[in-house]
């Protein structure tokens, strides 16, 4: 059997804190096969970002084993990891005065060999990344003057310029409206058809996760729990984890979706409540 792209075995990790360490991951195990797209769900602070940092090798596990493409991750050097794993973070500083093509070219840094300038391979990789992220027409724009959706595509192009085997996305749909959220996830789907990519994406929208991921995983109490295969999320498990009532419904195309089941409180106002008009 082929080596999994990413494998975590009993991984614990955390951060220095007052009076010791704050442990975020506690014996988390995970296996993502090459070419899979996995959605990572969990409450705020459940360790989703920490897990991505472990897989990207920028945070070391305090216990357990992390394997990347069949090798212990820290057998690779930092640039070697960055040539295999790219991250689209939640937030990134976009340097003032840089053009989009130059920004995307920063994704070539881990591949850099020549003293100055870029070689033909770099130019090809940047052009392909811009094209695949649907950002070619932005190449000459100033990166600090883009809209939220354009910016996200450009940062995705920068990650693709690394020519990664594993793409990690930390809440890529944050700050995007519904149309852009769906467009971004569709783009990930297209990318997987074009490139040999394994994708791990932190998502908040359960339906988006169910619709686009091969599997959904839930981070709970520092561990990874399976939450459902393609097209479905375990409603009872999600309800327990997030602590909110969820209801299953059937969408127009017949697929099952989960909806937040909070009744509209405006329908039965209490008599002593102030009138909204005054």
């Amino acid at each position: 059997m082929a080596d999994p792209a990413v494998e975590l075995i009993g991984v614990s990790a955390g951060y220095p804190a007052v009076g010791g360490r704050r442990r975020v991951l506690d014996g988390a195990s995970l296996r993502v096969d090459a070419g899979e797209m996995v959605a990572l769900l969990g409450t705020n602070g459940s360790g989703k970002t920490t897990l991505l940092r472990i897989v990207a090798g920028t945070l070391r596990a305090t216990a357990g084993e992390v394997r990347l493409l069949g090798r212990p991750i820290h057998d690779w050097s930092r640039p070697e990891i960055a040539r295999r794993v790219a991250v689209l973070p939640q937030t990134t500083d976009v340097p003032a005065g840089m053009r989009v093509a130059e920004l995307v070219a920063l994704g070539r840094i881990p591949h850099g060999r020549s003293w100055f300038g870029a070689d033909a391979g770099d130019a090809d990789a940047v052009a392909a990344a811009l094209r695949d992220a649907d950002a070619t027409e932005l190449a000459d724009r100033r990166a600090d003057e883009l809209s939220g959706g354009e910016r996200q595509r450009v940062l995705l192009a920068m990650a693709l310029a690394q020519e990664p085997r594993v793409l990690l996305l930390d809440e890529p749909t944050l700050h995007l409206d519904l149309a852009h959220q769906v467009a971004l996830v569709r783009m990930l789907e297209r990318l997987r058809a074009m490139r040999p990519l394994t994708v791990i994406a932190v998502l908040h929208d359960l339906n988006l996760a169910a619709a686009f991921a091969d599997r959904s995983l839930l981070l709970h109490d520092g561990r990874v729990v399976a939450a459902g295969g393609a097209g479905r999320i375990d409603a009872a498990l999600a309800q327990r984890t997030f602590g909110v009532p969820l209801a299953e419904a059937t969408a127009a195309d017949g697929s099952r979706v989960l909806a937040l089941a909070i009744a509209n409180r405006r329908e039965s106002p209490k008599k002593n409540e102030p009138n909204a008009d005054c």
Binding site: P95, A101, P110, G112, A118
Partner: protein, 357 residues
């Protein structure tokens, strides 16, 4: 996977033509201003004589057709001074660029994490030692105790600041800035105390603190020159790391950078260039702040162009400022750079506000 061959080429960084133009213009300016600096002054020397003197001294060619006083003025006084201006300005320009990138703070200058305070305390202490000790302390290889202690004080302070700010998970930029500020304040109190007890040496102390290229000499150049040139070369080959840091430390790490190691190396190199410069000239403000800032606005943040340009234009600015200071009756060059630099910087600030709406 690859782009179609017909796709137009995409510029991935500063083009060779543009970089050559920017740097070439700077070098020409530098040569012109340097020549003016060597020939102009209270007693003028013809450009032809100046060139002949330099050729004669360097290569031993040409008949001597100038008065001996011209040779002293050109070779012993003005040329070292102009070269010192170039060196110190270049060092401040590239150190300022590196600190602004490392600290991701446009207000950062080469002195920000303690170089100025440490060098000042070292220099002032050295100035007062002969007065405080019964025996005089001699120089070393043409360097006075002032230069040695200024250099050691500047570099040593940055190392101490870095050690103080360094924690288990790395060295946060904010902690570095705050530690630099606190330790600078402590050392500034020491400088003030020494000034208070300096008695009739106060004029010498104040003169050093204001910054001047008047003390430039060949031995001092021979000391600072290699340090500044080597640290510049080592900074410029790290352009990838500096460019990655433009995206923030987290993303730089995702791009394969050993962030903490890179920060340590770059801080040490920038502090080395700054301290070597301070040893020659004292502290000279605004060059290291304004030059990188201005060049970044004009030519973008890519360090492949920004670092060499900061070096060349830092040199241009300081030689020009020193020429002005000399022609204005020998006012300290540090006063002139602040006098011109501060209003200019304010204008720039207002302009960027207006442009942003």
């Amino acid at each position: 996977m690859r782009a179609a061959a017909a796709a137009p080429p995409i510029a991935l960084g500063p083009s060779l033509g543009r970089s050559s133009l920017v740097l070439g213009t700077g070098v020409v300016l530098l040569i012109v201003i340097g020549a003016v600096g060597v020939t102009l002054g209270t007693s003028g020397v013809a450009l032809g004589d100046a060139v002949a003197i330099v050729m004669h001294r360097l290569l031993g060619i040409g008949p001597v057709s100038w008065p001996a006083s011209s040779e002293t003025i050109v070779w012993d006084l003005r040329l070292p001074r102009v070269l010192a201006g170039m060196l110190v300005g270049a060092g401040l320009g590239c150190a300022g660029t590196v600190f602004q990138a490392l600290l991701r703070n446009p207000m950062a200058d080469p002195y920000i994490i303690g170089t100025a305070a440490g060098a000042s305390l070292g220099a002032v202490a050295a100035l007062l030692v002969p007065a405080l000790l019964p025996f005089a302390v001699g120089g070393w290889m043409g360097l006075g105790l002032v230069q040695i202690l200024a250099f050691a004080g500047g570099l040593g302070t940055v190392l101490v600041v870095y050690a103080v700010a360094r924690g288990q998970g790395g060295t946060p930029v904010v902690t570095l800035l705050l530690a630099g500020y606190a330790i600078s304040s402590l050392l500034a109190a020491g400088v003030a105390m020494l000034m208070f007890v300096s008695g009739d040496r106060l004029a010498a102390v104040v003169s050093w603190l204001l910054g001047s290229l008047g003390g430039a000499s060949w031995p001092r150049l021979a000391f600072a020159g290699p340090l500044i040139v080597v640290s510049f070369a080592l900074m410029v080959v790290r352009w990838r790391g500096l460019n990655a840091l433009l995206l923030g430390e987290q993303q730089a790490a995702f791009l394969g950078l050993e962030v903490e190691r890179e920060k340590r190396i770059l801080t040490a190199l920038a502090a080395l260039a700054t301290s070597a410069g301070v040893a020659v000239s004292g502290t000279i403000g605004f060059v290291g702040l304004v030059v990188p800032h201005l060049l970044r606005l004009a030519f973008g943040p890519d360090h492949r162009l920004l670092l060499p340009a900061s070096m060349v234009y830092g040199a241009v600015l300081l030689v020009l400022a020193d020429l002005g200071a000399r022609l204005l009756g020998g006012i300290p060059v540090g006063v002139l750079t602040a006098l011109i630099g501060a209003p200019f910087f304010l204008w720039l600030l207002r302009r960027s506000l207006v442009l942003r709406g």
